[in-house]
């Protein structure tokens, strides 16, 4: 009738239709918007507001909230034959800032964690030196010139499982063989000067006290430039799994060289060609020959959120965040793409941007629910730009295991679920 076609009635009908639709099918959030119910998280008094909590000294050495207990190191059992010569992964997807909490720093051992008594630990310097020396931990801590520095330590094999394509779902697994902490200790140069390196002493062999007696040859130039011996990380003693009581710090270079439980430094005139620099940590290329002494870790980055373990949950305002690092120096810039590399936006860096240390980047954006292919691309101060995996494979093939710093792609579906993919 005429009533029905009146403007008022028409808008009332359309209003009702919308309300009915919202009530019947759509999100409960919309229905609640119609008749808002008070939030019990506000109106009810929870236990923690009513009762006393634990007092001081309940936990003389504190640990994270029980609600965070899923944020832990994880391993991938099929990767290695034994747990003692194996690796686990830092939960990068759940971290922010640039400092890795000590208890979450990934571990890589070759014969398990050596439990070294610091009172019985010695550091020896010998070989082509004027005076071979032995130090106790107490001796080392009395040296003048103590320093503290933040550096990233990345395993040479980080992302190594991804050479042939997307394998593992989560940046913890694809990029988590890395940590970034503050080290306290001494410049290695201080100790080498104390022993007096002879002019022919061009190489240094570092050896651990564990039952792998891990060894690597390090050129003297690097040893004198910025290597450290560290007894501390993040303000306290090294964790046993990070080399307590003493480790080598080799800034910007592959993690294998950062010898833990460091007990011996020998000065020589040639490299030693140890197992960890011949059989391992050499990079096999497509023609069957291999690069050796690939020490530097090139510029690399990864978006940590969203990522497979940290999917998007809501449309609207969202934060893309991630980390970047380079073994060649300071980070200059990080670009982010949402469309698989067609268009890039320069991300915002916040927090410290120190050379050879992790940098945190953010890109604030509004998500309209469309599918996205997210990547990040790091550029360091030498002008090196993080390559795509395809660019790397063109030079190296797929069998080099180590040094995969290719751009990572996350496919974000319209429901927010996120997946490790490779794209054209």
């Amino acid at each position: 009738m005429t009533d029905n076609s009146s403007p008022t009635a028409a808008s009332r009908r359309s209003f009702l239709r919308t309300a009915a639709f919202a009530g019947a099918g759509l999100a409960t959030g919309a229905a609640q918007a119609q008749t808002p119910k008070p939030d019990p998280a506000i109106t009810e008094v929870p236990d923690w507001t009513r009762y006393l909590g634990p007092g001081v000294q309940n936990a003389p050495y504190g640990s994270p909230s029980k609600f965070e207990k899923h944020i832990v190191r994880q391993d991938v059992e099929w990767l290695t034959a034994s747990r003692e010569s194996s690796v686990n992964f830092t939960p990068l997807h759940a971290l922010d800032g640039v400092i890795t909490p000590s208890g979450l720093c990934f571990e890589r051992h070759h014969s398990g964690v050596a439990e070294v008594d610091p009172a019985k630990h010695r550091l020896m310097i010998h070989g082509l030196v004027d005076k071979p020396l032995v130090f106790t931990m107490e001796d080392l801590k009395r040296f003048p010139g103590r320093i503290n520095h933040a550096y990233f330590l990345e395993c040479a094999a980080n992302s190594g499982m991804e050479w042939r394509g997307a394998q593992l779902n989560g940046c913890q697994f694809t990029h988590g063989m890395i940590h970034n902490v503050w080290y306290h200790g001494l410049p290695l140069k201080t100790l080498l000067d104390e022993a007096g390196v002879k002019p022919k002493g061009k190489w240094l062999l570092a050896e651990g006290a564990d039952s792998a007696a891990m060894t690597r040859s390090i050129p003297m130039e690097k040893a004198l430039k910025d290597c450290m011996i560290a007894w501390g990380m993040n303000g306290e003693a090294l964790r046993p799994e990070q080399g307590y009581p003493l480790r080598l710090v080799v800034p910007g270079w592959e993690g294998n060289m950062w010898v833990k439980w460091l007990r011996r430094l020998e000065v020589g005139d040639e490299p030693w060609e140890q197992r960890e620099e011949t059989s391992k940590y050499t990079d096999l290329l497509a023609d069957g020959r291999a690069r050796r002494f690939t020490w530097i870790m090139d510029a690399k980055s990864v978006v940590t959120s969203p990522s497979p373990q940290a999917p998007l949950v809501q449309k609207g305002p969202n934060v893309i965040t991630g980390v970047a690092w380079s073994g060649r120096g300071r980070m200059q810039r990080i670009d982010v793409t949402l469309d698989g590399g067609k268009n890039w936006t320069t991300a915002r860096l916040d927090g410290p941007n120190l050379p050879l240390s992790m940098v945190r980047f953010y890109l604030d954006f509004d998500w309209d629910g469309r599918e996205m292919l997210i990547q990040s691309r790091a550029m360091d101060e030498t002008g090196y730009v993080q390559p795509t995996k395809e660019e790397l494979r063109k030079v190296r093939g797929v069998n080099s295991i180590y040094h995969n710093n290719g751009i990572q792609t996350w496919l974000v579906r319209s429901n927010g679920e996120t997946e490790n993919v490779e794209i054209s």
Binding site: S111, I125, L133, V134, M161, Q167, R289, R291, V385, V395
Partner: protein, 225 residues
């Protein structure tokens, strides 16, 4: 009186020394030892200095035959590495793989990949058997090295390895390595202005981790060293 004179003399001497030290300081920074730590004794260095170089530096006196090595290997190594060095389960393969380095699935063993025999001796001595390191004698280590070289067709069945003939060994892949050349061969990765807008026309997904589904509990999947 004499005390006064002594202190006067030492005072004068100190003054002279300071003048000299000042002069020296300007010429080149004085490297004055801090004086922490103590001199390492020869016995202490000998106890820890176990590394061996390709030129044989560090090799201890001793010798061992292929045959002796086989016996040690079967007793102490075969449980993990297999009776023929083929590797049990996921434990490392030590033998074979020649000619596979440029293939799709290269087999990197002592024989096919390792550039120097010294590394075999050094690594066995420092880290093997896994879980009972530094328990083998020098002769046993020579014998094991001889056995592994024999299994890899590098020495004959009747070979006896010693410090004296070690430098005669030549590994098949000794020429297979070259120094890091990324700054030359990957020069293209240093780009002044990487593309920011309309960088490519179409993008498609080539492969997905979910299809492989090995995160993180699956027992199958690629092997990582």
């Amino acid at each position: 009186m004499s005390r006064f004179r002594n202190s006067l003399i030492s005072g004068l001497m100190l003054g002279t020394l300071l003048v000299f030290a000042g002069g020296a300081l300007q010429a080149e920074p004085a490297k004055k030892p801090i004086g922490l730590g103590r001199v390492a004794l020869p016995e202490e260095i000998a106890a820890w200095d176990i590394d061996i170089r390709p030129d044989g530096q560090g090799l201890p006196p001793g010798k061992g035959s292929v045959k002796e090595g086989e016996e040690v290997f079967l007793n102490q190594c075969a449980a993990c590495h297999g009776e023929f060095g083929e590797g049990a389960g996921r434990w490392p393969v030590l033998v074979g793989g020649r000619g596979t380095l440029d293939k799709d699935n290269p087999d990197k063993t002592i024989g096919s990949y390792w550039p120097f025999a010294s590394t075999t001796f050094d690594y066995i001595r420092r880290a093997m058997p896994f879980g009972n390191a530094q328990s083998l004698t020098a002769d046993e280590t020579y014998a094991l090295t001889a056995f592994l070289l024999n299994m890899n067709d590098i020495v004959k069945d009747d070979f006896v390895l010693s410090r004296e003939n070690f430098s005669s060994l030549k590994m098949p892949n000794v020429g297979g390595f070259y120094d890091d050349d990324r700054e030359t061969t990957e020069k293209a990765f240093w780009k002044k202005n990487p593309c920011m807008k309309d960088c490519k026309p179409e993008v498609s997904v080539l492969n997905r981790a979910r299809v492989i589904d090995v995160t993180p509990d699956s027992k199958t999947g690629p092997k990582v060293e």
